[in-house]
Symmetry: C3
Subunit: 140 residues, 3 copies
Amino acid sequence: MNPYMEELVLDPSGKGLFEFTHDLVEVVERSGITTGLATVFLCHTSASLVIQENADPSARRDLESVLDRLVPENDPIYTHTAEGSDDMPAHIKAALTHTSEQIPISGGRLVLGTWQGIYLWEHRRFPGKRRLVIHIGGCR
Amino acid sequence: MNPYMEELVLDPSGKGLFEFTHDLVEVVERSGITTGLATVFLCHTSASLVIQENADPSARRDLESVLDRLVPENDPIYTHTAEGSDDMPAHIKAALTHTSEQIPISGGRLVLGTWQGIYLWEHRRFPGKRRLVIHIGGCR
Amino acid sequence: MNPYMEELVLDPSGKGLFEFTHDLVEVVERSGITTGLATVFLCHTSASLVIQENADPSARRDLESVLDRLVPENDPIYTHTAEGSDDMPAHIKAALTHTSEQIPISGGRLVLGTWQGIYLWEHRRFPGKRRLVIHIGGCR
């Protein structure tokens, strides 16, 4: 069976973790695929993807503050500074997290653990829209 | 051909890197798939996956001690502290490593390099059982 | 349709980010697959893969210098030192970045964003040849 592909456009309001698990669930439903693998690919280098706890918002806030401290703005080591003080940190944060994520599908559902959600991790203060390509392979 | 899926349950004794390459090799054999791609997905957010050197145990010990120092317990920056001092570091370590790994299959075998093994990287001191879903797509 | 597989050998001159987007584009063309998913797997544990900005070389230089500072050589915490001062840092850098990357294919082309390129991130000063296995699943 041919793979199913769909583009998803997210519109993050600024830096932080934005959950889109529900959007992905809808894409899986539209695909009609019941056993397979969903791959999410982010078409950008200053944001990233992460699968993380979706129960307590404090965990996401801490992820954000720890990464901000680990990769600060205005670090004198940066030479790539023309696109703003949050640009080079954004590239580094993206390299340390993920451009794509995979989640298997069984019985028509993503096999996410009880506390898992999938997030766009936006690393720029004033991002534009973010484009994701979802590829779902498998069978009906 | 339909994808093959199987669940693997690991029972790590505490923090550290636990190799399960041999378990994955057995899943690949049971799948009967000779050319394809194995995807391993971990259904948890306080442990992670990594493909690393399986020759010298000192490399794994150093990975563990470096990550422990980079993401310490009891950091005053944390607000998500209700689940124990090793919980928030576990989420951060998981975000900085991987929730899924992929390994191609050729001639019925994983195409791992000579020194590569696949590991569950457990980040909690008293973890329960850890559930992994293996998805194998390809052909016989 | 059976997956397409091909091995790619890169010969990095030393540490740093080496783009191989064009090589991957050629593999996709040879595969004949027009809708699907390309997975790149690196068969080594002291180098890694990353999808990053391919416009301005200063971004790559900064990625390299930030990672070098985050994971320095000759750190007294290391016990795995027999293979040279750049070996243990190389394993850690690989664990913090990626052993595999996925890029969907649509209309016979990788759906990379405008500024995205795929890189071998070499972490050793005198590496040998680096072997990558490309797996492409999908349909014509």
